[in-house]
Symmetry: D2
Subunit: 345 residues, 4 copies
């Protein structure tokens, strides 16, 4: 049994990791930490877990000491020292935060106002989006788990970019996310009467996930720059991201070519479900699961591709993908502990 | 007192007209009709109206005979004969359906599979979007009330197109609508457990409102064609449309120019509220009112305009705008009966 | 025009008062105050009111000085001094808080841990539930607006108690309220992901509205004590209270007698809608209105009355009833400004 | 591997059985049937199951022939013949419908307007509420799975009735259920705009689950009659039942006695979680799991017990309990396949 631990277990990403690790046959959830709830049993923080997980919330250091793999679900900026510590102690480190996602320190400075403390560590870190970068993740020790929006957008567009079916500029990612993406802290935005029966956009063309999306698509384009406008919206639902992505098709590209490219690209991928023609992805159908549903449309009048993907922001967009990365890092079957049936309702 | 009547009063558009006409100081709601509920008092169909409107549902003909103005809230295809009848009897006819919205019979054939029965009548009909075409609506007798999505999109983009600030191709309207847009008939799509906690797109790049949007924007462009990709999504809320519209800025156009153009275009318009910089429109803030909230953003990296508008699909997108048109047709103050305060929650 | 002012205008009760006062033909909304938002225009606090109310938030004293009637929407304990000040200056004072609701200082001490600063003022204060105590409210100067739950429960049970149709002990009020009852401050309870898709009870048999319910019903019983178990629940909706009230029928009381008693009791009451047999009240049908819908059932097996009432907690349960009281205090028609059509959806 | 089959697999109860059986380590989901979707793969009916269950919908007879245990999720009245057939072929039969729940044919006639076709078969059938009747279920062949409301109410009150802590008359069960209880067929009631932001009661003191509740509690009372008023309400959420149950405490019974009795009664029961004093059960905390959360309160003023239970109506109230019964029937560990972590959000 792999000894697993979570630093920042009482945030939403951490709580979802607890749920999934409890059901994973090859791991033991050994230790968890929380600054806000230190000393409190986990099921007092989340009463839904009563009878299932009453681990006490410890200190960060306890988690590192007791575990083989450390998942960090921390606000950005707090993972670098922890990663270093895990690295020094030969633990596997999987970061659900943003500190190791960007290759370029300059971009990191621009968007996160931070620096790379140890450039070598950043160079070792791999970007854990298995369907795109599987081989580079296997047996690695420092893994940056992708952001939720970037996962949905990258999976929606990667085959089209890889095969050069679309223009690399003028791409639009109009994304809509459930509220858990905003975390567990109450705020005016997440106050029920404010959000219920509401719908709006936020951080329009200025969200930190933008450079991460461009970086991944640029890797797909063999390094050519890919530029993209990203507008996130907040949905009055708990879970799920729908990414509606628009790109201009290159001259002469047909719907058939598009479907063929996507079919081949995702052939054999358990977690990506390419929907039959005419069906559109719906966040409902992936809820609580690690699936990414993907649907493809062409607007022949505008000659553009419309790729719509749906993920559960807390699973494929966070905790589930983190476990998928852990499976890869430890040489386990990639779907281990992750064959989760999305409830029909 | 103007005698007003509604044909198709028990659909959602009709029911909202009842609500608004009951509060209008210059009109009397005189007669209503309904095929499904003929003979039944209105407040048995909608118990929320008990004590306020117990008019019986009559036949269509009764409404025409008893009223000065006839609002039609019918499935498309059923308004042409009714319009003719009203015209022959010198009644004002305001159509909440699609039969008179498109100038081109060819487009109407393509998208609605119908014909213009009386071309002259179609030529007389005006498109009732007051903020764009006020003068052509005043004192008219046959008024086509715009679709809900086209209202939101046209108001979001009209000034940019009118002033030539954006390219006329490659425009994207990513729209999200509350469920009342789907009408009062239960279906699998609107079954609560299916829609609750769900989110998806539908009729992707194939919705009938597309040609209507293009037509209005083309009028704004002095007849130049404007092409647009329109993707509607269904929100798990009752009311409201948010239209997130993307257009490439023409070379050298700045945010300042954009804001100035919009400010001038909508100067003095009571129902269009241009939001302060940085604030985004939210369907919550226009609920149950005739307002259109409008917010403007520029993505400097992609050099594109992002205009986000919010309306209540049943008010500015249907019944409210219909009454605004009635006010214009009868020479009443345009805001009469329409100064509705959107509840804060 | 009556000059009206609101102390505590930026809480939910205050904001709803603004909405309703803006639509009242005989009043002017003259001044508002807010501790949290002093100096800010009201429509910056609530952007839905843009273009409709940009009054600045002043100090409490400004409101008293500028207005003929002062509505107070304050946390309990803060109204007594304000009431005194209004009284001294001969202003009408309508308190949406709890300070003047209880006749008994002892009960006030027990449930609110407070004292009556000026007993004479408390004796002058009247309890503003017009359908039960209309005559005592007319032309009064200090009016205690009832709590939301007590309004729903009192209207559901008053006729049965008045006519001695039910036992005065063992009454149960199982109530369910929308979230706006919890106010505008974000908290863990009202955090969207916590409340959405949830349902629970709170303050079980220990809510402060209990003595107020018992007091009103005891007045209906000519002073005999009435005892009642009150359990409130929190609904994942914005507005509305449904009160399901259970009482044992006295021997030999029939459904016919019950309906007759209620019919006579509420005869001519505009705001109480006694539903046809077999129909149950629904919070949806009273939303945003001052109505109380009331439905009656008998369980012949248990020989008990089940009275189910529905109100909008922010209107009949707060701001609407306050205006109804103002109308009575000033000799205006009682429904003035309050004929609000609940939207059908 | 036990071969399991579902008759009526495409209703909500059936679909939830599919979800849970797919995760059960000792069974194979072998065959499913559906009248409405015969011939269609299951994941076309419920796209959330794509990649997980594409079994075709067969005929009822195919399920019986191919399986060791047959779950029936049918409208009432349709199970008796099927049960007979399973019985004749020595299959285990677990009925999620109502045909075998009531002991008394007379009650069945009164409430369901049906007859017992084969009285012997009804005598063999056991009522599958494991926490109350475990021993009678083990190794049985015909099992009546309890109704959703009766499960919640029986678990809330059984210890109090068993120990004679409360009066056996005047009990009130005020229950609130999520919408999935109404099934998969769209109707006006479940039409999203009608149900969203609404709340009401239905079948007041006339719901068919009433005699089932009384029967179970009477068994707990060693056959003494127990009478109860049951009022169900419909919540605008997908899943969950909250049962708020009121009973008069017998003279001298204290809160301590109550808690002690419940603690002993449910000692060792994995699926019943007795909450700490002061905490109230919430449907959120049992969602998608087989737990019943149970909280106890006393109103000292009225001398009454208030027991509040929460279950997931589709799991402990249907499919989960059915599998719990299957585990008992086959001698498997009772929690096998049912240790489901309720998501924290």
């Amino acid at each position: 049994m792999i000894k697993t631990g979570i630093v920042g277990a009482t945030g939403y990403g951490g709580a979802e990791l607890v749920r999934l690790l409890l059901g994973h046959p090859d791991v033991q959830l050994t230790a968890i930490s929380s600054v806000s709830f230190e000393g409190m049993p986990f099921d007092e923080v989340y009463p839904s877990y009563a009878g299932l997980c009453s681990l006490p919330c410890l200190k960060q250091q306890d988690v590192v000491d007791q575990c083989d793999v450390v998942f960090a679900a921390l606000p950005h900026g707090l993972s670098q020292d922890l990663a270093q510590d895990c690295h020094d102690k030969a633990k596997v480190f999987i970061d659900l935060g943003a500190d190791f996602r960007l290759d370029s320190e300059e971009e990191y400075k621009t968007w996160y106002n931070g620096t790379f403390k140890n450039k070598e560590l950043h160079e070792q870190a791999v970007y854990g989006l298995p369907e795109l970068f599987r081989e580079s993740i296997q047996n690695q020790k420092v893994i940056a788990n992708p952001g939720c929006y970037p996962t949905a957008v990258a999976l929606a567009l990667a085959p089209a970019v890889r095969e050069g079916l679309v223009e690399f500029s003028g791409i639009i990612a109009d994304c809509k996310s459930g509220v858990t993406g905003a975390g567990r802290s109450p705020s005016a935005t997440t106050h029920y009467p404010n959000l219920n029966e509401s719908f709006s956009a936020y951080k329009i063309a200025s969200h930190r996930h933008t450079p991460e999306m461009q970086q991944t698509l640029s890797h797909m384009a063999n390094g050519e720059p890919v530029s993209l406008t990203f507008v996130p919206h907040l949905l009055p639902i708990n879970r799920g991201i729908l990414a509606t992505c628009y790109a201009r098709l290159r001259d002469g590209v047909s719907m058939e070519q598009v479907r063929k490219a996507y079919g081949e690209f995702y052939d054999g991928e358990f977690f990506v479900r390419l929907l039959p023609e005419g069906k559109c992805a719906d966040v409902k159908n992936v809820r609580c699961s690690n699936f990414c549903d993907l649907s493809l449309f062409v607007d022949p009048r505008a000659n553009s591709l419309i790729a719509v993907s749906a993920i559960d922001n807390m699973v494929k967009g966070a905790a589930g993908q983190a476990i998928q990365n852990m499976n890869l890092a430890f040489g386990l079957p990639e779907t281990q502990g992750l064959i989760l049936v999305p409830p029909a309702f």
